[in-house]
């Protein structure tokens, strides 16, 4: 049986960042304890459903998981390990924010087997951090990074963002320099996306439209500028020895995020916790997003009550079985996010049909336009293809 991945969602933040539209909120410790108890119930419940399957990676994301007190993190990982068959070499990552870690907490992380940390820095410029509504400043990050290294973590990611309001190449260079200087094993460089329902949307929605249309903007970089920021990031990181292996992810020394690659390779994964997404046995599902309802269901299960549901899990909000067509689409638009692209033989093995029979004309057109290339049985996007990957990947959606 193929090993699976686990994603565990911690929907708590000290304070909501102004651009963030992830499922998270500010809750007190009482609620955090109640939630973690519910989460552990779901972990045990799901483990019993998939019994015996091996877990290759665990990723605790948020929200700010590092904000949880160490005993809660301990109970989560311990529950996972006692419920699932976790590979001893499993990659176990936790997302952290500067200012929420302590030496004691990190020691607990080490002792329960957490071996990879991802730190949300976003920028090394304090004015930018303030604008984003982050709780920390650059000095706080340095302190956290130092704690992390001292605790012995040798697989650390730092998140940065490009395309920030008023971001210049100089400011970006300062951030890139400040980060690469510390030699983290992994860097994720995301573009700021103005999402509906965030304070940033209210503030920058018109600018975002203008940016997308290639017009002059007020605060956000123009499309052309953000293209340069993005390219600059890429060149800078490559020069410093970070190899891009996915659209927004860079690693040195081969320390890629195995969990993340699993998403692009369509490795089965269980999403545990509020709103978490699952891909298992060719079905995609999302957990319910109402934290009270989530806790109540878990509490009823813990009391031994039967929950009636037509879905495969009482925690699911929705569930759908992927058709072959949908699975093929996913294979392409996810796989091509990796710099190495997809393997023709993988497609054939998975779907029993040659990739050219489905996507031949599209592949040919994209190759002629220089957005795609092929080598040794692999198909992958070129640099300029990655630059406009939304446009390119959309072409792999098949007609209904």
């Amino acid at each position: 049986m193929t090993p699976i991945e686990l994603y565990i969602h911690i929907p708590f933040c000290v304070k909501k960042c102004l651009y963030c539209d992830f499922l998270s909120g500010v809750f007190d410790e009482k609620m955090q304890r109640r939630y973690v108890a519910a989460l552990c119930t779901e972990i045990k419940y799901m483990a019993s459903q998939v019994h015996g399957v091996e877990v290759a990676t665990i990723y605790v994301g948020g929200g700010t998981p590092s904000w949880l007190s160490e005993d809660l993190m301990d109970s989560i990982i311990t529950t996972v390990k006692s419920s699932f068959r976790v590979n001893p070499l499993a990659e176990i990552s936790v997302e952290c924010n500067p200012g929420t870690l302590s030496a004691e907490k990190l020691n607990v992380y080490r002792s329960v087997g957490i071996n990879r940390l991802s730190i949300g820095l976003q920028s090394a410029n304090d004015d930018e951090l303030k604008e984003l509504g982050r709780i920390h400043d650059y000095n706080r990050f340095l302190h956290t990074f130092d704690l992390v290294r001292k605790a012995g973590f040798d697989n650390v990611n730092v998140d940065i963002m490009t395309g920030l309001p008023h971001q210049t190449v100089e400011k970006l260079e300062h951030t890139l320099n400040a980060v690469t200087m510390l030699r983290p094993e992994h860097i994720s460089a995301y573009s700021l996306i103005i999402e509906e329902g965030t304070p940033f949307y209210d503030k920058y929605k018109f600018d975002a439209v203008k940016q997308h249309a290639g017009m002059e903007t007020e605060d956000l970089p123009t499309d052309e500028e953000s293209y340069h920021l993005y390219k600059y990031t890429m060149d800078y990181l490559e020069k410093k020895g970070y190899k891009r292996y996915e659209i927004s992810n860079y690693a040195r020394g081969g320390k890629v995020c195995r969990h993340n690659i699993g998403y692009w390779d369509r490795v089965p994964y269980l999403g545990l916790g509020l709103g978490a997404a699952t891909l298992y046995q060719n079905r995609r599902a999302d957990n319910i997003r109402d934290i009270y309802k989530y806790c109540e269901i878990a509490e009823q299960i813990a009391e031994g009550k039967e929950i009636s549901t037509e879905l495969s899990s009482p925690f699911y909000d929705n569930e759908e079985t992927l058709s072959k067509k949908e699975a093929m689409e996913e294979f392409m638009f996810l796989g091509l996010r990796k710099i190495d692209g997809v393997n023709r033989s993988d497609f054939f093995n998975m779907f029993g049909i040659d990739i050219e029979a489905i996507y031949g004309p599209i592949i040919t057109a994209l190759r002629n336009q220089g957005f795609m290339d092929a080598k040794e049985g692999r198909l992958f996007l070129t640099d300029i293809g990655i630059d406009v990957s939304n446009q390119v990947l959309a072409q792999f959606l098949l007609d209904k």
Binding site: Y7, I193, E330, F333, N390, A394, L397
Partner: protein
């Protein structure tokens, strides 16, 4: 039937002054409808009419009113369309009446269309009673409005009913005024038949239902009748009058009556509005005056957004044509848009209404090309072709000269806007004919104007430059030799036939430049650079470039939330579906209407 107990009248008003509400109220107060049957604005029975608050087709209703003098009167209320495109229909509707009620808003007073409509009614020798509506509004100022009516129009208004059609206040006064102030019809019931057709309707069971006003003689079931202009003959199957929303058969329609007839007529074209019905065996010596054959003045291409819907579009056009003799269409093909139809309309509003009805009532998604007029192309071989589609323009070497349709425009405007309106006419290649002060503050300006200069946005320009105070009417004057060229648009070096249009050579450069600018806004960025060029013949006269999109990356981590990522990509793909592919460029459907928006900003 006693003619002295009949009143045939219409209601005229500026848009929104409460014409339809008053009609509803009259119908309700006279008990023609029960409360239950009463649906707001009974007369406007097309969804589109009710929504836009305008009347497109004429409607009629017969009402019985027991007056204060103790007698019962028959009221025939004829509703009229209110737009210049349908001017001819309005004038035929008015010709079916003997009097008119003029509704004026007690707050807004006299507006542009108030005047235009009153003059039209007076032209038809109708007696006009003013009615002041909306007196329940806090801003109502009936005294001022009475003065305005007397000063500007010259109608006695001191005793004008002051009403609220909305609340029903003083409607009784209106009904009594109709009885006492409007004349009964005249006409000899034994004279040779003359009945004026003012509207028609296609019914799948009865065939065409002809709405008519009997001026002389009597129209009976079983009569053999002849349409004097078209020459078509029929045997009358049914005659009757109009209930509200229903047809009530009777034995005969004598002189003075308004009603309908059916005669198993299969084609609305045989029963043109304005034609005169007479008896086939004892015809009247003369038809009633004023019949005109209405020809389409504006043409455009209509294409289904989804090519597979072509047969549906054809069916829908055929059905609409049954009720609308002015609508014409014939199949055409475009390289960019595929199979569609070249359609002819009375004017832009007519075009818009047909387009909306197709989209709404027949659920079709349409692409419309730039509207144009009918040009005459005189070729060097001595022949002449009438050009309705710019793509069919012969090679310049085969063209001797071209002519374009010219209209005589009459614009009524208050004195402070005369300068602005004359500038507008001048810009549109107008030739001044005359200006005449109707009274101290109002003037009538006459210009000849090329039709192709007014079909796009002339109304809007007129309105904005006169703050709505100019009214406009036009009449076809014929054709005039003109220096015209075909302006072609090349997108990514490929000519897009559906974007070509005919333009006066003196404005070709300006139009071409604006067209390129507009298209640059409309066409989204692609993965490659797209030149947009305007050309006359082989000469490029304007150029813009849609820059290539260089970055569109979803560089955000959504964890395992793949469905969200997919939705984003789907949205991207869906957007493309609504576009037309020309070469490898996706052109949004709205872009094909760009030429209409050249004068915005």
């Amino acid at each position: 039937m006693d003619q002295s107990k009949i009143r045939n009248f219409c209601i005229v008003a500026h848009i929104d002054h409460g014409k339809s509400t008053l009609a509803d109220r009259i119908i309700q107060m006279t008990g023609t409808l029960t409360e239950r049957e009463m649906q707001a604005q009974v007369l406007d029975n097309m969804d589109l009419e009710r929504e836009r608050g305008i009347t497109i087709k004429s409607q009629a209703v017969r009402i019985i009113y027991k007056a204060d003098d103790g007698n019962e009167y028959i009221f025939n209320l004829i509703d009229t369309p209110g737009h210049v495109d349908f001017n001819y229909e309005v004038s035929r509707s008015l010709a079916a009446c003997d009097g008119a009620i003029l509704v004026v808003d007690a707050a807004q007073g006299i507006e542009a269309q108030t005047l235009a409509n009153v003059y039209l009614a007076l032209d038809h020798d109708l007696d006009v009673i003013p009615v002041i509506n909306k007196i329940d509004l806090p801003s109502a100022d009936p005294e001022r409005v009475i003065e305005e009516i007397e000063d500007v129009i010259g109608l006695e208004a001191q005793d004008a009913p002051q009403i609220s059609a909305k609340t029903g206040l003083n409607i009784h006064d209106v009904l009594e005024a109709i009885v006492n102030q409007l004349p009964p019809p005249s006409g000899d019931v034994n004279a040779p038949l003359q009945a004026l057709i003012f509207d028609s309707l296609y019914d799948p069971y009865k065939g065409v239902i002809v709405f008519c006003r009997v001026k002389e003689g009597t129209l009976k079931v079983g009569d053999s009748v002849k349409m004097m202009a078209t020459g078509a003959e029929f045997d009358v199957v049914e005659v009757g009058y109009f209930g509200a929303g229903q047809f009530i058969p009777c034995d005969e329609l004598p002189a003075g009556m308004v009603g309908y007839m059916t005669a198993s007529i299969k084609n609305v074209r045989d029963t043109r509005v304005g034609d005169t019905i007479t008896h086939a065996d004892a015809p009247a010596a003369e038809p009633l005056p004023g019949y005109k054959k209405v020809n389409p003045m504006v043409y455009c291409g209509l294409y289904p957004a989804d090519g597979a819907k072509y047969p549906d579009l054809r069916d829908a056009l055929e059905k609409l044509q049954l009720n609308d003799a002015a609508l014409q269409f014939e199949p055409e093909t475009s390289v960019a848009l595929g199979f569609g139809f070249r359609c002819g309309f009375l004017g832009l509003l007519h075009l818009e209404i047909i387009q909306e009805r197709l989209e709404r009532e027949y659920n079709l998604d349409l692409v419309t090309t730039a509207p144009g007029v009918v040009y005459r192309v005189y070729k060097t071989d001595g022949t002449m072709i009438e050009l309705t589609n710019p793509s069919n323009l012969p090679d310049p070497s085969e063209i001797e000269y071209m002519e374009e349709p010219i209209v005589e425009a009459e614009i009524m405007v208050t004195s402070e806007y005369i300068g602005a309106i004359m500038d507008l006419c001048q810009e549109r290649r107008g030739q001044y004919i005359s200006m005449e002060y109707m009274e101290e503050t109002r003037a009538l300006i006459k210009y000849t104007l090329p039709l192709n200069e007014i079909i796009y946005d002339f109304f809007d320009a007129l309105k904005s430059r006169s703050r709505g105070y100019a009214s406009f009417d036009y009449e076809m004057k014929g054709y005039m030799k003109s220096d015209l060229v075909k302006l072609d648009i090349l997108i990514n070096k490929e000519e897009v036939d559906a974007l070509s249009f005919i333009v006066f050579s003196g404005t070709a450069y300006e139009r071409g430049r604006k067209m390129c600018e507009k298209l640059k806004e409309e066409i989204p960025r692609h993965l490659f650079e797209i030149p947009i060029q305007a050309a006359v013949g082989s000469k490029v006269i304007a150029r813009e470039t849609v820059k290539a999109m260089r970055k569109d990356v979803l560089a955000k981590c959504y964890g395992g939330d793949i469905s969200r990522k997919k939705k984003l990509l789907e949205k991207q793909k869906e957007g493309k579906k609504r576009m037309r592919q020309v070469g490898n460029v996706e052109i949004p459907q709205e872009a094909f209407m760009s030429v209409l928006k050249l004068d915005e900003d």
